[in-house]
């Protein structure tokens, strides 16, 4: 592909369509007339007609999603606020603290603390994502070798502060919700034929 056409900065020779903007009212009288004309034009009654017809038909036929009480389902590959998953069998946390997500994060917004725990294992004591900086690129979910960090469907992300972050407890599947935890089919998940790609190691026993 050639970049020629994008490099052409000569506006004059290109075919531009000029839009004629209507002249704006000048005197107070002209302004008043314009407001009255727009207020009582036909479109108002077209709209009102639709509303009243639907009201008459009753709620059964309405298509309105009553956000925020209702939300539309979201595709698995949608990348919204992260979730930290647990192992379905044991309920242990999946995250092993390898730090790959922290390293790959392009917005540098993941931080985690780990320690050597009593069972001689690496324990992730804290894990946080600064959503004020996260660009929801999905790299973290893609790099995670344990399918521990994934993007969930929760997209509401308003806050009074820029530095708005989630901590481990916010993201981690609670114990009682473990049975509802879905295996992640979305971004960064294994492909369907992943099993076939595994090479076997010979074992001496």
């Amino acid at each position: 592909m050639s970049l020629e056409q994008f490099k052409d900065r000569n506006v004059g020779t290109q075919e531009y369509r000029h839009i004629q903007a209507s002249t704006s009212p000048k005197t107070p009288m002209e302004k008043f007339t314009q407001v009255v004309k727009r207020t009582f034009s036909k479109e108002l009654f077209v709209g009102l007609k639709v509303v009243f017809t639907q009201m008459a038909k009753g709620p059964k036929t309405w298509h309105t999603v009553k956000y925020p009480q209702e939300k539309l389902p979201i595709g698995p590959r949608y990348r919204a606020i992260h979730k930290l998953l647990k192992l379905l069998e044991s309920g242990n946390e999946r995250c092993i603290g390898c730090g790959l997500c922290e390293k790959i994060c392009i917005a540098d917004c993941i931080r985690m603390d780990t320690r050597y725990d009593e069972n001689q294992r690496k324990e992730v004591t804290e894990y946080s994502i600064n959503l004020g900086r996260c660009i929801f690129c999905g790299y973290c979910a893609e790099v995670c070798p344990e399918l521990a960090i994934v993007h969930g469907p929760r997209f509401e992300n308003a806050s009074e502060q820029r530095a708005h972050f989630v901590i481990k407890d916010d993201m981690l599947t609670p114990v009682d919700a473990l049975k509802h935890q879905k295996e992640f089919p979305g971004f960064g998940a294994l492909s369907d034929d992943a099993d076939k790609k595994v090479k076997k190691t010979p074992l001496a026993y």
Binding site: I96, G97, C98, G99, L100, E102, K103, R111, M112, D113, T114, R115, Y116, D117, Q120, R121, K122, E123, E126, Y127, S128, P145, E146, K199, T201, P202, L203, A204, Y205
Partner: protein
């Protein structure tokens, strides 16, 4: 010079160089797994093989010297296959735990597995249970160990402890920790190419790639070892707060002792406390003297000296003052400002005499270098000290135990022996002829036959070193001893190394005009005083690991160090500026360091440019050794003092280096008074007693422990737990007669 062909290119090798060394020097890559530059070739990995034309099979490049004209090929399909098979072997049953392993990201096994494209395994062996072992500060995971044996070689050839050995058992081979002698230096951990050895306080704390390496110099002793402080934010939720997670170093060529490697948790947070700053200023305005210790940079010493010149403060630093006088007297006979030896000279010696220092505790790096001399050059080592040091008995070939206090006599006898057979001017010759050897020998308990044995050991040695320690600098007759030692440098073929007692004692002695004593108000800088600035003081200032500046090391080298983590409070420079000096930063003083002491007018930032990590070269520059006017006014040996009864020797154990390291929680050294059975009898105390004694008005209450490796009636008294006042005791002669009182008995 030997010429040979490397992958078709004609190159030269130095005499005695191995193929691997020559190839690396010429920029050719040969992979290795067990090769470590600082020890002899281990030959356990066999991955460094190369092809030599005309030779059947592969040749081990790490241990085969270059022969004129050989044609070496470092890479071929066959070699690649061979190396790749070795990597497969290493990976048999290797736990798949890079995800949590502390070595991940800097692991040789990880790197070379990738390099040789090992993505499947044909070999297998029955796995076995290999539990993690606890080696003191370090944890050993035999499942991750690849049996490269770097740790064993390092412990033996560099550190000299031999605490590790290979436990052979085919597939079940592993490294065995034999224990007792381990000084917790962490050298084995530093050289381990995989995650098998990790320190307890770093294990699973963070990942290697998150850490930022700050090149610096160890703040704990005068060896000034280069190291990297590895830092990162202190925790997931800390804003702008940094923490040192570990210390690493250029382990391929250099070493660290345990204090340097683990004693990094001595940093401080500071804020700008303006009220305290004003209080400090008003104290300084009315003060007559500033007392300070030697754990400061050259630049800070220069600030103090400038303050003295401008406002007439007296400067007090007993330990550096002693060194200053000692060097001056030394120069009056040697004709040179400094001693002529370095650690490198110690390493290359075939004869070493040590006097006046418990060297393994005073300066571990000197001991490491003595060990290297012993292992590589089979050096004869004579150790002259009132206390036989059990921890270096494997190196020392001759122990000469002299009586406490008789150093002057011993130095005279030693110098006479060392200079025997050398051309001496008649005045010096006469001086030694007039020595009453019989009397000195009787008083000091150094037998003439012991000296004869020492002289015999000197025969046909051509790299001889004399190591001198702080027992001599602080002795009442220090100056005459220094003059005698100066003769050895002038007329003998010896290298002399003097161990400065504190981190930057040599720098302070060079830069400051110190005073013997002072009256009136004394402000302490990292030292006791009527008002204390710095460590443990009212106004806190950054400790050495949080400062930038230069230090003067035992090698008479000026080395730059950087601030590991920021310190937000005030510095000595701020105080000096408020008093009327003018320098934006402490390091503005680097160019002003005194030229007559051999410093160069180089800016600090230029010094940093010279910093070359990962290479055998040292950073910084060497002090110029200047000429001194010679005045041969040797004095008669004074009557040798007698120390009867119970005597204690002020000496921190190997795991501690004074007040700064005492702040570290990672380090744990025993603070007990250690004595022999004989000492216990003489002092009428028993093991476990809490005892009370006093040295120069400083009161000690300690547990007494019997150390069976000690002999005689001298006990070891660690000072580190006393903090700043303990540092001050280093200004005095280290042996003291004390009255020991029992506080409370055993099991009461």
């Amino acid at each position: 010079m030997v010429k040979f062909y490397l992958d078709g290119k004609e190159v030269t090798a130095n005499k005695g160089e191995t193929i691997l060394q020559a190839a690396r020097r010429n920029g050719s890559y040969i992979p290795t797994m067990c090769y470590l530059s600082k020890v002899k070739p281990i030959e356990s990995c066999r991955i460094c093989v190369v092809e030599v034309e005309g030779t059947e099979g592969f040749v081990l490049s790490c241990s085969t010297p270059v022969v004129e004209g050989i044609k070496v090929h470092t890479n071929s399909q066959k070699l690649f296959q061979h190396r790749s098979d070795i990597m497969k072997m290493y990976n048999v049953n290797h736990p798949l735990e890079c995800g949590v392993c502390d070595k991940s990201g800097e692991c040789d096994l990880q790197n070379k597995t990738l390099e040789f494209g090992v993505d499947s395994q044909e070999f297998s062996a029955k796995d076995m249970h290999r539990p993690v072992e606890d080696w003191g500060f370090i944890k050993y995971d035999p499942a991750l160990c690849i049996m490269c044996e770097k740790c064993v070689s390092t412990c033996n050839e560099i550190v000299g402890e031999g605490s590790l050995q290979v436990k052979l058992g085919g597939y079940g081979s592993q490294i065995e920790f034999t224990g007792d002698d381990c000084g917790n230096c962490g050298e084995c951990m530093a050289v381990c190419p995989v995650g098998a050895l990790v320190s307890e306080n770093f294990k699973y704390e963070t990942n290697a790639w998150e850490l930022q390496k700050v090149p610096a110099v160890c703040a704990h002793c005068s060896s000034g070892c280069e190291l990297f402080y590895e830092t990162k934010h202190a925790g997931a939720f800390t804003a702008n707060e940094e923490k040192i997670y570990r210390v690493s170093n250029d382990f391929e060529y250099k070493s660290l002792c345990g204090v340097g490697r683990f004693g990094y948790d001595v940093t401080q947070r500071g804020g700008k406390d303006e009220k305290e700053f004003d209080a400090a200023l008003s104290m300084l305005r009315k003060a007559d003297a500033i007392r300070f210790n030697s754990r400061i940079s050259n630049e800070e010493a220069k600030i103090l000296q400038t303050l003295k010149e401008r406002f007439g403060y007296k400067l007090l630093n007993g330990e550096a003052y002693a060194m200053q006088r000692f060097l001056k007297a030394f120069g009056s006979t040697s004709g040179e400002r400094y001693y002529n030896g370095t650690l490198e000279d110690v390493k290359n010696s075939d004869f070493i005499a040590v006097i006046g220092t418990k060297v393994a505790d005073d300066n571990p790096m000197v001991k490491f270098h003595m060990n290297m001399a012993s292992k590589n050059r089979k050096a004869r080592i004579s150790y002259l000290h009132p206390i036989e040091d059990a921890s270096i008995q494997n190196l020392v070939t001759q122990n000469i135990r002299y009586e406490v206090g008789t150093e002057e006599g011993v130095v005279a006898l030693l110098v006479a022996s060392l200079l025997k057979g050398n051309d001496l001017p008649s005045s010096v010759k006469d001086y030694f002829e007039e020595l009453d050897i019989g009397n000195l020998s009787a008083e000091s308990n150094v037998g003439e036959e012991e000296l004869e044995r020492l002289e015999r050991a000197l025969v046909r040695k051509n790299a001889k070193t004399l190591i001198v320690g702080s027992d001599l600098y602080t002795h009442g007759r220090a100056e005459n001893m220094a003059k005698l030692l100066g003769l050895v440098q002038k007329y003998g073929d010896f290298k002399i190394v003097m161990i400065p007692s504190g981190t930057n004692t040599l720098g302070v002695a060079n830069i400051c005009e110190l005073d013997a004593s002072a009256e009136g108000t004394v402000v302490g800088y990292n030292a006791p005083g009527d008002y204390v600035i710095g460590m443990d003081g009212q106004l806190s200032t950054p400790p050495l690991p949080q400062q930038e500046g230069t230090l003067t090391t035992i090698d008479k080298r000026v080395v730059p160090t950087n601030a590991a983590i920021p310190f937000e409070g005030y510095t000595l420079n701020d105080l000096a500026n408020a008093l009327g000096l003018d320098a934006a930063h402490t390091i503005d003083y680097t160019v002003q360091l005194p030229k007559k002491a051999g410093y160069k007018a180089v800016e600090f930032d230029r010094l940093l440019e010279e910093y070359r990590p990962y290479s055998p070269e040292q950073n910084g520059y060497l002090l110029q050794n200047g000429a001194e006017s010679v005045a041969m006014d040797l004095e008669e040996i004074a009557e040798l003092p007698e120390y009867n009864g119970t005597v204690v020797y002020n000496c921190d154990p190997a795991g501690q280096m004074g007040a700064l390291s005492a702040k570290s929680k990672n380090l744990c050294a025993d603070d007990a008074l250690l004595g022999s059975q004989q000492f216990a009898v003489a002092a009428k105390i028993k093991d476990g007693d809490t005892v009370r004694f006093e040295i120069n008005g400083e009161k000690f209450v300690k547990v007494f422990k019997i150390d069976t490796s000690l002999k005689g009636v001298v006990a070891m008294n660690p000072l580190f737990s006393k903090g700043l006042s303990g540092d001050m005791l280093c200004s005095d002669y280290r042996f003291h007669k004390v009255n020991i009182n029992v506080e409370s008995g055993h099991n009461e």
